[in-house]
């Protein structure tokens, strides 16, 4: 059996690779839209040179489309930047609300291709944790990835959090598909390795149709 550290490191790299590939794909879509608008502008100018009239509203609409796509790309890159910076410090104090928002933002495209919706119920107050941000978002992604395949008939995965005495619980709810076979084994070695590293427990409850992740409030505290 491979050393746990090796499994966790490999999981981290795979997660990073998957996310950056998804981000690059989205950016390509944005570039395609901007490129077609530029091409159409060129076509319209050629037509105008030939005496055709260009409607100002047409140009306004094209301009709005381009601005909308630039705004979209900006958000995508901000999320990529947040993911990139999650490895700056191996352990730090974070607000889990922010990490979960990042997770959902990174996961939306994956959810969309599977026909699943993700609903995050942001906790009203801060959810402070001292942990490894990158490996925690990695673990939560693995849970969400599994949860999307186990979503119930309404195809919604709901994320809810709760403060406890020792840390924070994250619930992946509405997993009506948990009782159905076949789903991949979960938790598998990567999830178990990450849980050990993060001093976290993971419970799959078919009866409650949910996954519960119990995260230690301070990874360094005994």
């Amino acid at each position: 059996m491979r050393a746990k550290l090796e499994i966790v490191a490999e999981s981290g790299l795979q997660f990073f690779g998957k996310m950056t590939a998804s981000i690059s794909h989205e950016i390509k879509n944005v570039l395609a839209i901007i490129n077609e608008n530029a091409g159409l502008l060129e076509d319209l100018v050629l037509m105008a040179d030939g005496g055709a009239e260009i409607e100002p509203q047409r140009l306004k609409n094209m301009s709005r489309t381009v601005m909308k796509q630039v705004s979209r790309a900006d958000i995508i890159m901000k999320n990529m930047n947040r993911l990139a910076h999650s490895v700056d410090e191996s352990i730090k104090t974070i607000d889990l609300n922010d990490l979960l928002e990042l997770l959902v933002a990174l996961s939306n495209r994956f959810a969309s291709t599977r026909g699943v919706g993700i609903q995050l119920k942001r906790n009203e107050g801060p959810l402070k944790l001292r942990t490894s941000p990158f490996f925690l978002v990695n673990l939560l992604w693995l849970c969400l990835d599994f949860a999307m395949d186990a979503a119930g008939e309404d195809k919604i995965v709901e994320l809810v959090t709760r403060n406890t005495e020792t840390g924070i619980e994250v619930f992946f709810k509405r997993l009506g598909g948990l009782a159905e076979a076949p789903l991949k084994p979960f938790p598998a070695e990567p999830e178990k390795g990450l849980c050990d590293l993060l001093r976290t427990e993971l419970e799959v409850s078919t009866g409650n149709q949910e996954i519960v992740v119990r995260i230690a409030g301070d990874i360094d505290r005994d």
């Binding site: 794909h25 390509k28 839209i33 969309s112």
Partner: protein, 133 residues
Amino acid sequence: MPQKVLIVDDEKDFLDIIAERLLARGMDVSTATSAEDALNMVEEESFDVVILDFMMPALDGFKALKLMKAKRPDVQIIVLTGNVPDEKRREAKALGALDVIEKPPDLKDLIQKIKKAKKPQRTVREKKGRRKK
């Protein structure tokens, strides 16, 4: 006779403009925003070329390609995708794709590929112009 093209992409901002530009260049263009709609359209009508976005909600690109080819073996499919690793390109071609193009596509290149595609056998009903909408 103009090339009959079906473009399939869930990004409407992309779909509408590329359709308009191909129409302006004399092609007969239809559009679909989902693989499911596209499969229904391919069943109803004979297209010379389908331009298929590979990453759309609900139906995996490879599955969509397989299903389309099963419904219309002679339809020429050009896959459009954000990134094309060699493995993906090989797999798409093995499933019958005419070509795999990266987004953003070069329109001249795309038009050349569309024009080179072989025309499928049209049914007698289609030749007489009696098409179901």
